[in-house]
Symmetry: C2
Subunit: 454 residues, 2 copies
Amino acid sequence: MRKILIVGAGKSASYLIKYLLDKSTEEDLHLIVGDINIRNAKKLIGDHENANAISLDVFDKVSRQAAIQSADIVVSMLPARFHLEVAIDCVTYRKNLVTASYVSEGMQNLHNAVKEKGLIFMNEIGVDPGIDHMSAMQVIDEIRAKGGKMILFESFTGGLVAPESDDNLWNYKFTWNPRNVVVAGQGSAAKFLQENSYKYIPYNRLFRRTEFLEIEGFGRFEAYANRDSLKYQSVYGLNDVRTLYRGTMRRVGFSRAWNMFVQLGLTDDSYTIDDSENMTYRDFVNAFLPYSHTDSVELKFRHALKIDQDDIVWDKLEELDIFSATKMVGLKKATPAQILQKILMDSWTLAENDKDMIVMYHKFGYELNGKRYQIDSNMVVTGEDQTYTAMAKTVGLPLAMATLAILNEKITTPGVQIPIAKDVYEPILKELQDYGIVFTEKDVPYLGYNPLNV
Amino acid sequence: MRKILIVGAGKSASYLIKYLLDKSTEEDLHLIVGDINIRNAKKLIGDHENANAISLDVFDKVSRQAAIQSADIVVSMLPARFHLEVAIDCVTYRKNLVTASYVSEGMQNLHNAVKEKGLIFMNEIGVDPGIDHMSAMQVIDEIRAKGGKMILFESFTGGLVAPESDDNLWNYKFTWNPRNVVVAGQGSAAKFLQENSYKYIPYNRLFRRTEFLEIEGFGRFEAYANRDSLKYQSVYGLNDVRTLYRGTMRRVGFSRAWNMFVQLGLTDDSYTIDDSENMTYRDFVNAFLPYSHTDSVELKFRHALKIDQDDIVWDKLEELDIFSATKMVGLKKATPAQILQKILMDSWTLAENDKDMIVMYHKFGYELNGKRYQIDSNMVVTGEDQTYTAMAKTVGLPLAMATLAILNEKITTPGVQIPIAKDVYEPILKELQDYGIVFTEKDVPYLGYNPLNV
């Protein structure tokens, strides 16, 4: 039997393991699922005969190397910063490797060694990054095949709550790492390309420069710019496009409300608040407002951010109970971002039966025979429950399919890579359709970038 | 003769040198003024018989050590980051040292060595830091001497243009390092204490949380919070105060207008703009506004920042010619902050006959016999011309007086220090009055922090 070592049995491993176990007899596979907490691994494999769970501490060199040496291929589901140890062992013991993470500098540096040994290290093959690369490259390659010249590419992804579980005023719940949501967009300005001009948006304006997207059957969404819109410009071969933009999708109204936290400074993760442990939520908010011996925290908040009496954003704040004088922060030496995260988790944690949703939206503008065209393409995937989430599905299935394709020598080009080659993405996108991961394409008039929103 | 080595003959050395030369015969002093450009040094000493200029590169160890070894005391007028080499040599050769700069960690680490050798390293004895320490400690010590308990301390300083040279709509010109003005307030939130609560202001709100100050004969000023209000809390012995705030003074209206640049992202110094060299001022502004194939940069700017048609801030922008489609940035790979600085320097550089002004304002709140009192104290110093500026005067005179006091063994406590001891500040503040550097004190009702401004 062919042995697949899966390192890390966290949240996003459910579909990956299910897919491979479903194929295990037919494909002659045996899964070794290693996690620092062996119960995580056992839970996901159940009593399947073609799998076993092991306790695996990735920092324990001896057991890590033994596990890797005994496998035919390795899938690392660890957080991105822990991949490198595994990757180096995979070079040493000549094992192929699959991850859903961004290619780090350390990973990229292994490229020559990986290539020389004829190995395949496939990365960025989850959902974002992953399905976004594959689905974008498929359309881009098709446009090029018919002689078109790409002039615009915009791509948006969002991890959201499914409509049937969408029951708060923010139309948002945490379906992934809450911390990443709280600090999203921080750092240098977001940079992108609009009609041949580089544009820059500082963090404090990011959530006020959104644009709208419509998905049939799912209504309206909005998107704010990612910091890294130009990251894949050369990788996708888009050096001559006029417009290049990558964004994050939310339900309409989220960003305007979120901007209140940004403006007040509640998302800052760069310093700690004195005596945060003993603060109430109200004390926390008040620390960002001027002192007054008469005026309420509420009025100071409304005044500072110029919130009218009948503005819906106010209801969103109240829903979070952020002005509570009894709820305690209870975190020692916490940053504003950590405290805000705690307050949001009270309200935005998925309930037992809540379902999540992944949405993706691409716009492709191109020129052909002197005319300009646009294709819009979108995908919506809804989760089944809190184990079989849309996130786990869209991350895990492409990972699993790539793993099997490498084992079966369907993917053969060696090196550290991401799934942008046709022979990689085509069979995977096709098989994903069987699991309901489908892109809907339509031709729309080419308008250029966001021409109606100033 | 007693030899004083002055390292660095830059902008702020004029009064320092003049004061010491005026006293040189009576006090038996000889000045050695060293600068990397010997002409700077020669210009400031003229043909005075008690001084000579030397060419001095502070990174040339041999000549630096020779100069220090031959002196009886050293005054370092270098930028703060270059003091340490000089300071270490002063320890080696047992020379006292005087600087106007903040005590760096490296400088503080010399304290034990300095103390053991019986040396005096007096720092922070310019204007801010310097006169602010001395004038504040004088009042605080007086309040304590009569049994009062400090409950509030607020301190504000501004380097501005003198009223007679104040001829632009911003009521501001660069009288010191322009770069520091452009990036002022960046980094973590400003933190201070208001009525026993810590308060935090993020950068994007800093210029909208100003307060007003009135100085008789000079009208109204505004101030925004410094990042480091709590820095001297324990040094001044103010651990039990209810309110502690340090701020920067500007003429009223400056901060609201400056905030436009902050909001748009023009003060960001953390990344470079593509092809900045070939941009016009208009292109630069437009890079921070959405693309439009019809709307003007002006209207997009007004819309983005919600600037009404008749708002005075608009005239301030136009005065800077920031929408010029012909003026070129001309700086390669520049940050937004560097480009903004260049645009501002077109308008805010002091003209030949312009005079500068230093303003300082302290508020002292205290309790005595169960009652609360407040003393307000302020100082205004106007420059004479562009060599004998208010900045050079208020930095140079206390430095010079401290240097002479150390030489004459009037200051005797050894160690790395700042001028907060009575025997240090009292004679200096008294002598400064002879040069027109005078604080005006008045008793005012104690109101606590800023009670009328939300």
